[in-house]
Amino acid sequence: MPVREGIYGLLAEFDTPTELVAAAKTSYDAGYRRMDCYTPYPVEEAAEAIGFDEPREKGVSRVCLLGGILGGLAMFTLESWVSIWAYPLDIAGRGKFSWVAFIIPAYEWTILWAGLCAGFGMLALNRLPSPYHPLFNAPNFRNGATSDKFFLCLEADDPRFSLTDTRSLLESLHPVSVVEVEH
């Protein structure tokens, strides 16, 4: 990721998930959209508050479904091709297209590719791995976001963002601190 100049956003720290969700709601109602919450465990209410609806996005589920269908079809096709054309075995005149036996490896591959697509698809949709992120520059972020603190970041590329107004909005929400995050 190219290192950019300037401010990434304003980061407010909270002690409890309830304060975070209340703050996120207030900011969303004030018209901010480029924002995100950072929590040490999943907080569904925070996602609602910032207007992120994963079930509606359906990204991970779609990738998973696609992977499952392709995986199952690929294995079934391979088995049929091998058994009918590439390496037919004539065992006492039994049929070559014994599709019942082919179901089992195809079933396993359906699960294999659906699972791989769910896992790696989730990472890809999340733009991970990304070892660098501007938030890691914030002095208090690493100490809290993955253990016991709750953060709300209003990002600078939101059209409503202004260093002074946004800061006063965040400060009115009784955070522990508000810091500027550099790129």
């Binding site: 409890t16 998930p17 309830t18 304060e19 969700v21 209340a22 709601k25 207030t26 995100d36 919450c37 950072y38 929590t39 040490p40 465990y41 999943p42 907080v43 569904e44 996602a47 992120f52 994963e54 079930p55 991970v60 998973c64 499952g68 088995e79 091998v82 058994s83 590439a86 390496y87 075995l89 014994s98 036996a101 082919f102 089992i104 490896p105 396993e108 591959w109 699960i111 294999l112 659906a114 699972g115 791989l116 769910a118 896992g119 698809g121 989730m122 990472l123 999340n126 991970l128 791995p129 070892p131 660098y132 992120h133 938030l135 890691f136 100490n143 976001a145 993955t146 253990s147 016991d148």
Partner: protein, 474 residues
């Protein structure tokens, strides 16, 4: 044992419900994080760890010796012969795979059932799955004697011999079942660990630790958008792992059930194998959890409630296994087939009958009569002993199925016997060493209890709706 089950001010009893708590009260997000990261990030590795690791490691070395000698001399060094061409290798394979199944049951099926108590034991149960699958997968491969050739025997890929595998064989189904199981287990385990690796990265003091955990955490920062997709992916993986785990032991039972051996080709095999797998797997969870919680002082997180629940699952699956044994005998009688009938008689009273009685004692007679008692299920020493006994019993179950059927089949002129050699024992005991070694490395280097999931069951994790309404009204 003078203490009563319920004492009036026992902090482990929830005063509202009167039930055992899942985790001890009084933990905060920070204290839980510190307690669990300290186990890994401490500069002072406990002496006991080195001792255990050295012991397990030297047993694993024995495996290396046994396998090296096997590759030099061939499978003739084992006790396998005609008619028992499937000896320890298949017994150990089925036993190890079965042990892995409890890990997936805890991590996937209990997640789908929203059993929050599973949170503190699911990470190491999954690790147990992966290490057990590693031990299991080794056996069919070394059983080929020439594992470097097994690649084209097992995997369909275009090769210069223009050869393709036989997809109608249950042994090929095994390849896909077990390789999928191993892959999905690793993915599920790793995905589940990413948030905790982020915590480790942020709490590591050394530069090296920050770098390694930082690379492994993939830049996880706890974004809510990430968390929501992560939760969906976890549920999907759990939903996929559930039919997968049932299919794996089903396919393994097909190795037997598709054959025409007396005592093997019964339709009860798939469910009975799966139940047996879960039975021995939960026993292994107890075998591992009880010393670990003692050694690392994790009694607050892996509580009596967890051990008690494992005991209950064992009781339930144990009865399915007992039903399987009864069906085996009932089938032999109802089939009116003299070979089946003889097989059942030979299994119980024949020259290998002692193994059947060991299995009846250790899978049925002892555990299923005592696990009923709540008092005993709350007794850690009893649970540890019963877990070892059940694992032994389940090993003997596989022994009985494989050996008694093969030694005496249809034609008395081809009857034989089976005696394992020291190389068989060394290989089997060696895999126990390998499994334990991997486990020692895991508890030293990775967070064995999922912190992010424990945080969700702490009292402070819930959103206070009343306070939220109040703040919204400001």
């Amino acid at each position: 044992m003078a203490t009563k089950d319920i004492t009036p001010h026992n902090p482990m009893i929830d005063p509202e419900t009167g039930e055992q708590r899942v985790i001890a009260p009084g933990y905060t997000f920070r204290s839980i994080t510190e307690k669990l990261t300290r186990i890994v990030l401490t500069p002072h590795t406990p002496l006991g760890w080195f001792f255990g690791f050295a012991l397990a490691g030297s047993i694993a070395m024995m495996l290396l010796v046994a396998v090296t000698w096997l590759f030099l001399k061939g499978t003739g060094i084992w006790g396998i012969t005609m008619p028992v061409a499937w000896g320890f290798a298949i017994i150990n394979f089925v036993w190890w795979i079965g042990i892995g199944h409890a890990g997936t049951l805890i991590s996937a099926i209990l997640l789908l059932f929203k059993q929050k108590w599973r949170n503190s034991i699911n990470r190491f149960a999954e690790a147990m799955t992966i290490f057990a699958v590693i031990c299991a997968a080794m056996f069919p491969v070394i059983h080929t004697g020439r594992p470097w050739l097994a690649i084209y025997w097992l995997f369909p890929y275009p090769n210069t011999m223009n050869y393709w595998p036989q997809f109608r064989s249950p042994l090929m189904w095994d390849v896909f079942a077990v390789s999928t199981y191993a892959t999905i287990s690793v993915v599920f385990w790793y995905i589940g660990m990413i948030p905790d690796l982020g915590t480790m990265r942020d709490r590591a003091k050394s530069k090296f630790g920050r770098f390694i955990y930082g690379q492994m955490a993939l830049g996880w920062r706890g974004s809510t958008r990430h968390w929501m997709r992560y939760e969906t992916a976890s549920l999907l993986l759990a939903g996929l792992a559930t039919p997968l785990v049932l299919s794996v032991h089903t396919v393994i039972s097909f190795d037997f059930a598709v054959a025409i051996m007396p005592g093997w080709h019964t339709t009860i095999f798939p469910p009975y194998f799966v139940a047996g797998a879960v039975y021995s797997g939960f026993a292994m969870v107890l075998t591992l959890a009880i010393p670990i919680r003692k050694f690392y002082h994790l009694e607050d997180l892996i509580t009596i409630r967890h051990l008690d629940n494992c005991g209950k699952v064992m009781l339930a699956t144990g009865f399915i296994v007992a039903y399987g044994y009864m069906t085996d005998i009932a089938y032999a009688w109802y089939s009116a087939d003299k070979w089946e009938f003889f097989m059942a008689w030979n299994r119980i009273f024949g020259p290998m009958g002692w193994s059947y009685w060991i299995l009846i004692f250790s899978n049925i007679a002892f555990p299923l009569t005592t696990l009923w008692s709540r008092r005993l299920r709350h007794n850690v020493v009893y649970l540890f002993i019963v877990s070892i006994i059940v694992n032994t019993g389940m090993w003997f179950e596989r022994f009985v199925i494989v050996v008694t059927s093969l030694t005496r089949d249809y034609l008395p002129s081809s009857w034989g016997t089976y005696r394992a050699t020291r190389w068989d024992y060394m290989t089997f005991v060696g895999t126990l060493g390998l499994f334990t070694t991997l486990f020692f490395l895991f508890i030293r280097l990775l967070p064995m209890i999922p912190m992010s999931e424990i945080r969700q069951i702490l009292p402070g994790a819930k959103i206070n709706q009343a306070e939220l309404q109040h703040k919204g009204g400001d």
